[in-house]
């Protein structure tokens, strides 16, 4: 079975048109925390579709947790956290119910969950700082709490690999930090975590490993190795400057967008 959480080799995917991902090779070891970073349309979500077994059209080799992804159906042991935008928040469910559903596929065939399942859901929610919110309607959560609820659902089945699509988009700065810290802790507890982001400074720069993607992998490594003007230009197609400050890396837009000398009208940030 080996120690590999993800193994992609010569992978090409398209949606009928020109390939969205071309000849991808990627190796992620168990217990790694990796960010897939690139502009929108780069194919980040498509890559996640691949490794969560929702794409049947690709060419090449995709192994997840040591086994090839099945042609139909998803690989076992993968917990998936979708983009918050894709959810109907008025759906009549409580936080606890959503978390319990994460294990529905292997739960017994009755409309209700067992006491053991509920205890476990409560424990996972508590682990994620959500104790006491079990009976809340999902609409009554903040963005960060919604994200934690989905993390709890992903952990409600025995996941070894956590896959998160843009877990830090649409939440405020403090929440972004909390989520990243939480993912770091889960990694320390032995999980493999793969997430996507388009946020260079507040997310990518804090991750131990970044994979830059724009149709193909343009760079792969630790932030201080790959956050370079050349890589950024290759990935984003626009010039950016990289500032090193007290051991931190900061990416700044190089070219002024507004013509110089134009007065900024009052009230604009």
């Amino acid at each position: 079975m080996g120690s590999s959480a993800l193994h992609l080799d010569g992978v090409t995917v398209g949606y009928g048109g020109p390939p969205v991902l071309t000849d991808l090779a990627l190796e992620v070891g168990r217990g790694e925390l990796v960010g897939i970073v690139g502009p929108s349309g780069a194919g980040k979500s498509t890559l996640l579709r691949l490794i969560t077994g929702r794409d049947t059209t690709h060419r090449g080799r995709v192994e997840v947790l040591g086994a090839p992804v099945p042609r139909h159906g998803a690989p076992g042991g993968v917990g998936y956290v979708p983009q918050l935008e894709s959810i109907d928040w008025d759906f009549p469910l409580t936080v606890e119910q959503v978390v319990l559903l994460g294990g529905a596929a292997t739960s017994r065939r009755l409309p209700w969950f067992s006491r053991a399942e509920r205890r476990r859901a409560a424990a996972v929610l508590e682990r994620l700082g959500m104790a006491g919110l079990e009976q809340r309607h999902i609409r009554e959560l903040s963005g960060g709490q919604q994200q934690r609820m989905f993390l709890a659902r992903a952990l409600a089945r025995d996941s070894e690999l956590l896959v998160l699509d843009e877990p830090t988009s649409g939440v405020d700065l403090a929440t972004r930090r909390d989520i990243l810290a939480l993912l770091g802790e889960l990694r320390d507890e032995g999980l493999t975590v793969v997430l996507t982001t388009h946020d260079l400074n507040f997310v990518a720069a804090h991750l131990p490993r970044i994979v830059f993607l724009n149709g193909l992998i343009t760079a792969d490594g630790a932030p201080r190795e790959v956050l370079t003007p050349a890589v950024l230009h290759a990935t984003y197609g626009t010039p950016m400057r990289v500032v090193h400050d007290q051991g931190m890396v900061l990416v700044v837009d190089d070219a002024p967008v507004l013509a110089p000398g134009r007065a900024v009208p009052a009230g604009e940030p």
Partner: protein, 300 residues
């Protein structure tokens, strides 16, 4: 008043209609919750139209009404599934294409056929016509629906709420959609005698829509919608008997009246709750956002 309620039962046909009505009302009510949550309100409409095609062709070929109806709706449900999987097309377009075609086939068949078929009964429902076969069909479909809901409830809820993640977490979402469409087809077929082709659409939407207005708990929604379905059948059938309107319209108008009350009522409750919040101390429930609490539960 008592005789108003009991007199109709002197007739076997009314007793049969009442049994069929209660079964059909319960089935349509429970199913409507999932139809509303899946935003597939048009599927009832579409499948019911397919029934007319099936019934017409079946009767003209000298077959039982149910045989044609079952074949037509199963074919329609499977075709809808296939067509809506094609990129760029969604279920609404698929339903529009498939079921109207089968409806048209039915109308064409009727117009060239020498047989005399009581089209009005098929379109609007006919409680005079409920026979023992209808009761068996309704009971059988009811048992199948109940069994499926019990066995597949969690998976169905997961696949409805978040199909993407359900798929990754090992639920066969495609399979559950097909099962759901076939169940809907079965309920529609079982409802034709009482409700009629043109009115089934409302019966598989209105109770769920009402339940959604007054509750934010899925379990409570299922209970409420089932009761609304049964209640409108009972009230509608009495009205149909005493006022002499077809059963389908009577049942649907009853359900719609319930919906209207729920609609106005939940708006009033929401407004007074908002006023109480403005008057009362801020952050009653600990500072979570309450922007949507006007949809809050009346029940459950």
């Amino acid at each position: 008043m008592a005789s108003w309620l009991s007199d109709p039962f002197a007739y076997t046909f009314f007793a049969r209609a009442m049994i069929a009505g209660v079964l059909v009302g319960a089935m349509c009510g429970a199913l409507s919750v999932f139809i509303v949550l899946r935003r597939m309100s048009y599927i009832g409409h579409g499948l019911a139209h397919a029934v007319l095609g099936g019934v017409a062709v079946g009767l003209v070929l000298g077959q039982d009404m149910y045989l044609g109806a079952v074949v037509a709706t199963v074919v329609a449900a499977l075709l809808i599934d296939r067509i809506s999987r094609r990129r760029g097309l969604h279920a609404d377009a698929a339903i529009g294409v498939v079921t109207t075609a089968i409806f048209a086939l039915g109308v064409a068949t009727l117009s060239v056929s020498p047989e005399r078929i009581n089209v009005e009964a098929v379109l609007f429902g006919n409680i005079l016509g409920v026979n023992p076969t209808d009761l068996w069909v309704a009971a059988g479909v009811g048992v199948a629906l109940l069994a499926t809901l019990v066995v597949a409830y969690k998976r169905l809820v997961f696949a409805t709420f978040d199909p993407e993640v359900a798929e990754v977490h090992g639920i066969r979402v495609g399979g559950s959609e097909i099962v759901f469409n076939l169940l809907t087809a079965a309920v529609v077929v079982a409802s034709v005698r009482v409700l009629g082709v043109l009115l089934i659409a409302a019966a598989v939407v209105v109770p769920g829509a009402f339940a959604r207005l007054v509750s934010r708990s899925l379990g409570a929604m299922l209970g409420i919608a089932t009761m609304v379905g049964v209640g409108s059948s009972v009230v509608g059938l009495y009205a149909s008997y005493h006022v002499d309107v077809p059963s389908g319209p009577a049942i649907v108008l009853t359900a719609t009246a319930v919906f209207a009350v729920g609609f106005v009522g939940s708006a009033l409750v929401g407004r007074s709750a908002a006023r109480a919040r403005r008057a009362g101390p801020a952050g009653v429930e600990g500072g979570v956002e309450h922007a949507h609490s006007h949809e809050g539960p009346l029940v459950g």
